[in-house]
């Protein structure tokens, strides 16, 4: 608690907000910070791909094909003599960006659907939630495969396909807490002061369910990245010559017996990012909702 004097000389007591308290808890959590550190490192490396590998991801050098990882090529080269370092970094851009964009898309749609569902209740709730149940009953990846094969490959279509598969998770995450808040007096108070439905939803309901949304977002992004990589691995997401972690794995698989590092590098990258996001997401949940931790 800090005390500060303002111009009028009135003592102004500034207390730490709920959010900054949560952040303090998060920083104290070593595993979460470890995950956050890995996450930031990987993201920064991918962003710096232009600087680290100025040659780009598709510069071929047929004289040095299948060079094992070493001083000249840290992660070795592939069957066309392209630097694996460059391909993993540029591929990471694709994987992370598409995974993130898909989660944003799914979150936006899921939050709106979940809020409307909980707010209006009864019929609306039943219709929306039963449709989402249908989506939910199909495994994430399978649903993405179905949508992706209907829409075709490409970045935007992959974002849509993976995004749709994350909608039910977000809708469920939001609906439960909103139902609980609907029973609070301040929602009734908002009605007595003539607040419109949209105002109640966006100013009174959603800000109070922010914590579960943030947690779901972090954990959901990890799943989306996995999903994007899986699609590309199966040949549906990102098309060659553009690199993507799942696509790189898929190439490397052909040479697995002779040049295993072609698989190891992108594989470890995927594992690392998902692992770090899960660590961070779990830490975030503990920090934002201390009641859940026991």
């Amino acid at each position: 608690m800090r005390e500060k004097k303002n111009k009028a000389g009135v003592e102004e007591i500034r207390r730490r907000s709920m959010f900054s308290e949560a952040m303090a808890r998060l920083v104290r959590n070593k595993t979460a910070m470890f995950g956050f550190f890995i996450l930031v490192t990987v993201v920064l490396l991918c962003l710096a791909a232009d600087i680290i590998s100025p040659g780009g991801y598709d510069q071929q050098d047929m004289k040095s094909r299948f060079v094992a990882p070493g001083l000249e090529h840290i992660f070795g080269t592939d069957h066309l003599g392209r630097s694996m370092l460059a391909r993993v970094l540029y591929g990471g851009r694709n994987s992370l960006l598409i995974g993130f964009a898909a989660t944003v898309l799914g979150a936006a749609a899921g939050i709106i659907l979940g809020t409307i569902s909980a707010y209006y209740g009864n019929m609306v709730d039943n219709i929306i939630m039963r449709i989402l149940d249908v989506f939910n009953s199909i495994p994430n990846l399978l649903l993405a495969i179905v949508i992706s094969s209907a829409l075709g490959s490409g970045k935007v279509n992959t974002i849509i396909a993976v995004g749709i598969s994350t909608i039910p998770g977000f809708a469920r995450t939001v609906r439960g807490p909103i139902l609980a808040i609907m029973g609070m007096d301040y929602i009734e108070a908002a009605r007595t002061i003539d607040a419109k439905d949209s105002r109640i939803m966006f100013r009174h309901l959603l800000p109070n369910v922010l914590s579960p949304i943030i947690v779901q977002f972090t954990l959901g992004t990890a799943i989306s990245i996995l999903c994007v990589s899986s699609l590309s691995f199966l040949g549906m997401g990102i098309q060659p010559p553009e690199p993507e972690w799942g696509a790189l794995l898929s190439y490397g698989r052909q040479y697995l017996n002779y040049y295993p590092y072609l698989c190891t590098v992108p594989g470890v990258a995927i594992a690392l990012i998902v692992f770090s996001m899960n660590l961070f997401g779990d830490g975030l949940r503990d920090a934002l909702d201390p009641r859940l931790k026991n």
Binding site: T192, I193, D194
Partner: protein, 320 residues
Amino acid sequence: MNNILEVKNLKKYFDVSSGTLHAVDGVSFSVKKGETIGVVGESGCGKSTLGRVLIHLIDNTDGQIVFNGKDITKIDRKELSNLRKDMQMIFQDPYSSLNPRFTVYQTIAEPLQIAGGFSQQEISERVYKMMDTVGLARRLVNSYPHELDGGRRQRIGIGRALILEPSFIVCDEPVSALDVSIQAQIINLLLDIQEEKKLTYIFITHDLMVVKYISNNIMVMYLGQMVEFSPSEELFEQPLHPYTKALLSAVPVPDVEHEKKRIVLKGEVTSPINPKPCCRFSARCAYAKDICHCKSPELIEVNPKHKVACHFAKEINGLE
């Protein structure tokens, strides 16, 4: 005509799985401008539902609510918006009636922002003025509810209700969630504001001492029906309905010499779901006769101001 509110045969039924719940069943009364009507009764007797129906938070099933000479039970959206500026509510629980993400300023300013037509300057002037009125220090303007105690939180709720300068306020047990010492502060605040702004209160409570202190008239409810309506003094001096007698006998008297003659009610509260056409209190009433079990009593005027719904009100009380 100086009645700000006239309620005629107001009914609110809820459909529940086992039938129809008669939450408010045929309540009629009128309120003069500047008066306070205390509504008392046990838990589940429909007090809160009555309050919510009165300010149109939930629609009534039947009957009329005439507010300032206009029936407000059948009004459209736009008229309802105007009505909201004139009728407000103070809630029971100061912990759940405030949005935890809103600062004091945001909570009190929101009605003005929704109503529209005020500049930022005007809004902030009015909010600060309202904070003075309800006794909140100006330095708390950016505090969040979780940083404040129950009394201060309730003051925020009162500020929010008053900022649009309504003439009619439903107070739904505004002090029952507060400490006794703070209860007195809040009640005095409500009385001061009433005097200053000529407000009309419907004061819902189960605390009889509070209601005696604050009300001009008291309405006693039992299972959705009004069983007695009387000026405050008269009700405490001479309660006519057997239920009111039992209710008043439960009030603790701060006197060691006082001999307690507590009337203890026996039996269960009759279910408000699909009630039989009888006196609803008959199952627990010491004076109940055959007629009480088969016919619902009419409201009789014992004197022009005092009404009671009991078949034997006169016999029991030795009147006439």
